[in-house]
Amino acid sequence: MATWHEYLRDEGRPPAWPYQIQFGQEQLIETDVLVIGGGISGCWAAIAAARQGVRVALVEKGDVKRSGSGGPGCDHWCNAPANPLSRVDPDEWAVHMADRTYCNGIGLQIQNREDFDTLLEMEQMGGKIRDTEDEFLGAEGRDDETKFMISPRYGTIHSYLPDPHMGEPGFNPPEKRNNVVIRVWGNTFKPVLKKECKRLGVQVFDRVMGTSLLNENGKQGARVIGATGLNGRTGEFLIFRAKAVILATAGAGSMWLMSMEHGGYSNMHSRNINGDGSVMAWKAGAELTMMESTGVVGIATGLKHKWYTGAGDASYENVPLVDAKGRRLPYPIQGWEDAGAMVPAPGTQEKVREAIMRGEYELPFYGDWPAMAEVERRATWNLMLTEESTTRIMIKTMNEAGFDINKDLQLSYKFIEGNSLPQWGSGGSGGLVVDWNLKTTVDGLYAVGTQMFCPEDHSYAAATGRYGGRKAAASVKDAGEFELNRDQIEAEKKRIFAPTGRDRGIEWKELHNGLSRAMQYFVSEYKTETLLKMGLEEIERLEAEAVPQLIAHDPHKLMRSIEDLSMMEYAKVIIHASLARKSSNPRMGFNRIDYPEYNQEEWEKFLTIKLVDDKVETGYLPPRYWGDMKQQYEAYNKDYTGVYAPGN
């Protein structure tokens, strides 16, 4: 017996709900710093705050031990230019990385300055960051003294800003590598982060989703003084009273995805991310930006293959590609040959396509593992791919099934799977506007990691979480007296538990599908004012007609139902922002048919959006509103003490 259906067959009845049902029962928690989201950034925020000696509560929808997109692992600690082997200056490298129109200079500066300290703290807690067993002696980038495994794929020009010669053989000789990125054993990270939270006395609330923020006097835009939560196993309603709140959730992952049967395996990020944090902040009056940008899920759709593709197929990682006859293809292999080219040089893909059509290359393509040097083969398969994330289980099961990197060619899905369909869209780089304290535009409310606009990778989440936790903790001494507003709490309680009080209606999956259809038709890569307004009307119709019928029979389905409501709100913010940007921009995945001109200088700015008295207001921020990155960082961090000293 393993599945529900088998249980039913064997027992003649379904299993009873295994947890005590407590729909609407209240628990009040008093704390100094509340962190919502227990992924990488949330854990680091909680730890950093607790180390300042304040009371911390951490709310997590899953279980902190393995939750979040970084729960299963992480193989590259991406921006640690302060490490002793680095060939670049952290401040200069941060400016170099931020030398593009849409990015977050504040977060990048924090990452570049503090990422290596953060990594050393990871090691203090028990995370593995060095090749201590000498497993990969002789591998490119391995430093025999420190035993760091420097990633050899990155040159001194960042891969965001590709050099036209990138990808050519010999382009990335050792002396031109930046030595900024460190390969790590990230599967060890998340459990020790949870352990450290516990050691420091952080109150961890697993299986609780944050549902709303509480403002002083219940007024939108006023200081945030707490939050509400829902336990997805029991239905308990949690009320947090806090002097500062840190949001550490992520964007909305599946708004365009029609089939919730594919909701889990169609996302490179955790299934649990649904934009809850951004929507909470939005309703509380905080300002968001980049919400009109959208991406396309090109590498994680269940109808295709599973991210991370490097494990499921050979199309993305170090392995050289050959055609069906064994002829080497001109793709870069992300390593010592090509200066970190993750994608082919411009034109290569088209040349390969033409050669296929002429019969010069034969499909399918394969990853030629045996052609790699022995130690690189092992370092790629056993370190990079095994530690990367959800790839770990793939590597394990492929090994068990007899796949042998020394003998086998791994099928690549390049070309044979076709191009990504536009409906496999994803939220782009939208997130909360922050200042140099990582405070949002609302007092008492902070944002870290993927909760900020234009977020980056795992180590960015770690470094910004650690920074935001420190800043939020420092703010609590000025909190003064405040009281929660009962009317605001009651209104939220009514909203959340409405689906439990109905006998019949629409379940969360169907509501999600309704939203997906609206997004696919009206918020696609073909945007016009007419279409966007139709999308808004469609969602408002769903709110008026379907939401009052939303039904949830147990706390888990209630949680998914509330996520739908978050995604609908998130979708509306995307549409409002898209209506307000009257210019096209390919870097944002943003095409307005009615405003087709690309890259107009007057539109090279952040479009901001927020609610004021429940009315949508848009505004602008200049592209580099954060000022001089080095100067600003230093002005705000005179008291920074570096790596944590255990025992403090």
Partner: protein
């Protein structure tokens, strides 16, 4: 077979079995129930028995339940059919799949 009850049931969500349990090895410790960030499983009402897969289609195939299982072989990963990787032996050309 003929003795089994036949119920009228809706279709089973797909994919339905992201992991399988070996009842001879699984101790019913529910470590996987607590590790899973999604609540794919619920504890079995029968103590000591493998958990029940309740929300199979929500699984994001992170594999942590299997990786962190304290009893090797008790909890095993199942690739969904459309995602199974393929490979071939470079020398012999023999094609294999998980």
């Amino acid at each position: 077979m003929s003795e089994q009850n036949v119920f009228a049931l809706p279709n089973i969500p797909t994919p339905s079995t992201p992991v399988s349990f070996n009842p001879d090895k699984c101790t019913g410790c529910n470590n996987c129930v607590e590790t899973c960030p999604i609540d794919v499983f619920i504890p079995n009402p029968k103590k000591g028995s493998p958990p029940i897969i309740l929300h199979a289609e929500e699984c994001w195939y992170c594999g942590c339940c299997v990786d962190d299982c304290p009893t090797p072989g008790a909890c095993n990963f199942n690739w969904p059919l459309p995602l199974k990787p393929r490979w071939k032996n470079k020398e012999t050309g023999e094609v294999r799949q998980v």
